[in-house]
């Protein structure tokens, strides 16, 4: 939890990793390129005092992670989003099994999400069923640009992916986190396009689709589908760190997202270990909409910040939030509830 000026905030970090990107785990030049790319993001957008040496960034310890998130970073609950990348890394980049082992060791701290890949077909469906039982999955993370042998990715509305989404509905896995990347089949189309999210969100109204990185680099397309599909959410990983180096850009990102989707459909995330939640939380609570943007985009209030920092994710994942952190219901809504 975080407290400032008498205001209290419950913190759910919606996107964290416990990865191994070290040279020993790299399978090829792509694995090396991938972690280097993350490291450039980390260096470019972190405050100087939070920049790690490369070796630490490639592989950090359990102790480091626990301290950063829960002792220093104000996080009450963190959600693991696995990233397999088994074509790039010997043991995968960070897998459900590895995340769940850490979650088991520290009860109450983590939610370990699963993953599926529609290209695994029937075998993958059976594995998803098994994982749902083993780990009690409430969410999955999908990386549509993931390489698999000769394949460079997939779309959410591919027939096999639709089968997996049906299976998720059946298993009670209601939160589908989507991360787009630079490749897809066919490679001549825009891989970052989010139209397929629109399609599956209409077809699976019982599922929530949390688009990671709020659709970046297609923020505008994401905002547009968000206006049309009430079960589409925006995860703020990667957008958050702009709050330090480019605060006006960040204010405008949040302003646009609140304008099109509303503050009840945005979730805070650090993308740890790319960025540290401590400074992100502190700066977010201090955020004021610049005066010249207010007329177009509106203010950002403490209650909006409370929703984004934790309450929205808590709703998606049925996390019990202590009374003191909740946003009081609107008078009319409270009256209606009492009636």
């Amino acid at each position: 939890m975080y407290e400032k000026d008498g205001e209290k905030y419950y913190i759910v970090d919606g996107h964290v990793h416990f990865w191994d990107g070290s040279p020993e785990n790299q399978l090829n030049k792509y694995g090396k390129g991938f972690i280097n790319c993350f490291y450039d993001y980390h260096q470019n957008l972190s405050p100087e005092e939070y920049v790690w040496p490369r070796e630490k960034f490639e592989k950090y310890s359990e102790e480091t992670m626990m301290k950063d998130l829960f002792e220093d970073g104000y996080v009450d609950k963190a959600i693991f989003q696995p990233t397999y990348l088994t074509d790039f890394y010997v043991d995968g980049f960070n897998t459900t099994a590895k995340n769940a082992a850490l979650a088991d060791k520290h009860p109450g701290k983590f939610i370990a999400n699963g993953a599926f890949d529609p290209r695994d077909g029937d075998k993958g469906l059976a594995k998803l069923e098994q994982d749902a039982e083993t780990y009690g999955l409430k969410g999955v993370k999908l990386y549509t640009a993931e390489w698999r042998g000769d394949s460079r990715g997939y779309k959410l509305d591919d027939p096999w992916c639709m089968k997996f989404l049906e299976k998720c509905e059946e298993l009670g896995i209601k939160n589908i986190h989507i991360h787009k990347g630079p490749t897809i089949w066919p490679l001549n189309k825009d891989a970052f396009n989010v139209d397929d999210v629109d399609h599956v969100a209409s077809d699976f109204t019982g599922l929530n689709f949390i688009v990671e990185h709020v659709g970046l680099p297609r923020l505008e397309d994401f905002c547009w589908i968000g206006t049309q599909e009430p079960n589409v959410y925006g995860g703020l990983a990667v957008a958050m760190p702009f709050i330090h180096s480019r605060p006006r850009y960040f204010a405008k990102i949040v302003g646009e997202l609140c304008y099109w989707l509303g503050d009840d459909r945005l979730t805070f995330a650090s993308d740890y270990a790319i960025w540290h939640p401590k400074w992100l939380v502190e700066k977010f609570v201090d955020l004021q909409m610049p005066e010249d943007m207010v007329s177009e985009l509106g203010e950002i209030t403490n209650d909006m910040k409370r929703n984004i920092l934790g309450l929205n994710a808590a709703r998606l994942y049925d996390i019990e939030v202590p009374e003191e952190f909740r946003v009081p219901a609107e008078p009319e809504a409270a009256m209606a509830a009492n009636a």
Binding site: Y41, L187, A191, P217, E220, C223, F242, R246, K252
Partner: protein, 236 residues
């Protein structure tokens, strides 16, 4: 013999299709070497994993621009430090086309992708112009009734109008004085009662491109400490 500066000038109009900024301003050009009538250009990008389709377009556009110079007989353009450097460099310099360069992974050329992003550029440029027009007191509905001839002129306005007209021209959308100021991506006029939402969406497109350019420039400068990307005037 052609000199380096002339080659750079020829490359300057080549844009990153996604960011709608000159690749020279973005500092993606690392070197130009001229030997007699042969030119070699080296390019770099912000990340190892930048999307191969946009990367291919930039390499191909640079080669075409250089070959368009009168004293150049042959040109080689080399993208460095990218996960598909080999495929792109071989494909572009042997003029194989995108699909043949990525035979297992593509099912066509990049014309549709380019068109899509030219339309986005049209919206961004339209927003930047109309944002200035708002400062003069015009409402979106009033702008919808203006023809290009009736657009107020002035210092910054002229610049924005020029870049907007350039984008219209590239998309074969009318640029004559009697054509409407506000158009959608397909060149259709925008009705007065739809103008507010049209421009709000255009604002989103412009902001997204600007944000991506900010991110890409920052990562480029982290990856290559000597890089000095510069950008057009910011709207945020």
């Amino acid at each position: 013999m052609v000199d380096d500066a002339t080659v750079i000038d020829a490359i300057r109009p080549v844009r990153d299709p996604e960011l709608d900024e000159s690749i020279v301003a973005l500092d993606f050009v690392t070197s130009v070497v001229v030997v007699d009538d042969h030119v070699t250009v080296r390019l770099r990008l912000p990340t190892y994993f930048c999307a191969p389709n946009f990367s291919y377009l930039m390499v191909a556009d640079v080669r075409e621009a250089v070959l368009g110079l009168p004293d150049v007989a042959s040109a080689e353009v080399l993208l460095e430090d990218h996960f598909t450097s080999d495929e792109i460099n071989d494909g572009v310099n042997s003029e194989r086309g995108f699909e043949a360069s990525f035979p297992q992974y593509a099912d066509g050329e990049l014309d549709d992708l380019r068109l899509l992003f030219r339309r986005k550029a049209l919206m961004s440029r339209q927003y930047r112009l109309t944002r200035r027009l708002r400062d003069t007191g015009l409402t979106p509905a009033e702008m919808a009734s203006l023809t290009l001839r009736q657009v107020p002129r002035g210092d910054h306005l002229d610049e924005h109008l020029d870049e907007y007209l350039e984008a219209r021209g590239e998309l074969h959308i009318a640029t004559d004085p009697d054509a409407p100021l506000l158009v959608d991506g397909a060149g259709r006029p925008v009705a007065a009662d739809a103008a507010e939402e049209h421009l709000a969406r255009a604002r989103g497109v412009a902001f997204s491109a600007e944000l991506n350019a900010e991110f890409c420039s920052g990562v480029l400068a982290t990856r290559y400490p000597d890089a000095r990307p510069s950008r057009r005037e910011e709207t945020v």
